[in-house]
Symmetry: C2
Subunit: 286 residues, 2 copies
């Protein structure tokens, strides 16, 4: 089953990511509606042609019309939404999401749904240090990765549909990972980097640092501008795994520290060469 122009898409939660999904899908000719709490977000999206229809309340007709529903909500809000409104979903609807942590969440959502409604989780590895539909921008998907995160409850058809959604949105690479492996990857690649940036930014309050900085510090701390409500929830949702990758990162940091302390230049250089070699694989292919 592949996403087709006749499929009607509903976005629940019209913020930065929801809005970027809507923009990308509208440009491809899809019919897109949205449900979100904030009136201003709906008005902005309608005025700018980002959606066709919008509502600030759970609109039964929109739910009945939708073939694919994308949830772009905080994890606990997503769970609450399904608990309250899951019974209103029509049979055959495919649900997907954008949530950053999967292990606890996916099985919980799947167990709450009535038969005939399927949730296939996904994680778009794209974002901006801004929020709200006003800042949405589908060019953030270009060159980026999209991960489909199925469980044993998912059908082949829904996985395939979700993969084709990723391609339609414009992602460069669409891959598939089970929840546990997804959360391990994301702990290292995304959550740990945010921990590092926040720690670094908290470590020095000297005046005028910005007058002396170079791009390395700017690039490393870009994500230190962080949504504390969302990220603290995501960190705690992936707590054990995140603590594990923090440990392994710190043991390497400590090893480099000892090299500098002991003036062990050869060991230091071997770490740098390993790092250089590994980094080469990560350049963006745009």
């Amino acid at each position: 089953m592949i996403l087709q122009k006749t499929h009607k898409i509903l976005i629940v939660g019209l913020g930065l990511l929801g809005g970027s999904y809507a923009r990308a899908l509208k440009k491809q000719g899809f019919s897109v509606s949205a449900i979100t709490l904030d009136r201003k977000s709906i008005d902005f999206a309608l005025e700018n042609g980002i959606i066709d229809k919008g509502s600030t309340q759970v609109d039964r007709q929109m739910l009945q019309e939708a073939d694919v529903i994308v949830f772009a909500l905080y994890p606990h809000v997503f769970v609450d939404w399904i608990r309250q409104n899951g019974h209103l979903l029509k049979e055959g609807t495919i649900l997907t999401d954008v949530t950053g942590v999967k292990s606890g969440l996916v099985q919980k959502i799947q167990s709450m749904l009535k038969p005939g409604v399927e949730f296939i989780a996904a994680h778009p590895m794209a974002g901006r240090e801004l929020s709200g539909v006003e800042n949405s921008d589908d060019s953030i998907f270009r060159g980026a990765n999209y991960i489909v995160v199925p469980t044993e409850k998912n059908t082949f058809g829904a996985i395939e549909l979700c993969q084709s959604l990723g391609k339609t949105l414009g992602f460069a690479d669409v891959s598939v990972l089970p929840p546990k492996q997804h959360d391990e990857m994301i702990a290292f690649l995304s959550q740990l980097t945010h921990c590092i940036a926040v720690s670094l930014m908290c470590a020095n309050d000297a005046a005028n640092l910005e007058r002396y900085t170079g791009d390395s510090f700017r690039d490393l701390t870009r994500i230190a501008n962080i949504n504390d409500e969302m990220w603290s929830e995501l960190f705690l949702a992936n707590r054990e795994t995140l603590l594990g990758v923090m440990d392994s990162y710190r043991s390497n940091f400590d090893r480099l520290y000892r090299c500098i302390q002991n003036q062990d230049r050869e060991e230091m250089r071997s770490m740098m060469r390993l790092s250089t070699e590994r980094r080469k694989r990560f350049d963006k292919k745009v």
Copy 2:
């Protein structure tokens, strides 16, 4: 004393930075010559109009003609060069450099020079993860910071000349810091960030990580592609100061670790809010 078009510039060490200096100065109409070991670098620079004259050997006539000499060499090579060739410099010549650590170096170079030859240190906060004059590019100076690093031996005239060199090269902000303060800033803003990127890259050898990554990891580890010969020398040249900033960063990282471990969401969020607030000052003004 301000840099003028009649000043003849000599670059010693025509790599990425030396080449970028030469490009910027030639575009402004200066006469630029270069001394570098590698014949191919000279040939490339002459063929591409990056310099007017070049030599692979210490050319006495070039030294006699030069009003300003920019040294773009590894620190120990710079010291060796002055030891061997310092007596050939003509009275009135102003020397400057691009070296990343200053405290040990600046006083040493100044003490080796004959009367009438003045060394005013500088640190251009710009670079690329590539080397060689073939990759030089003066657009890296746009929006970037340039730090003049005088000691009590420097004259007002030489400091002023060096500031105007930074402006002429196209830097957005030119500031002045004594060597000790410079090295403290740079330990935190530049060396620590490189330590973090290298440690992070060494911490995980899972396959296919690049298929799941987002931009935060890419941006943070850009500098993990590192020249191990140069950076290991710079780390050891600033050893005590670098260990100090590594300690204060790690104590903040450990604090965040304990927040996650103890599920102390409020403390975690207060670190994130501080980090967000501080980060706002660092956006590039281009």
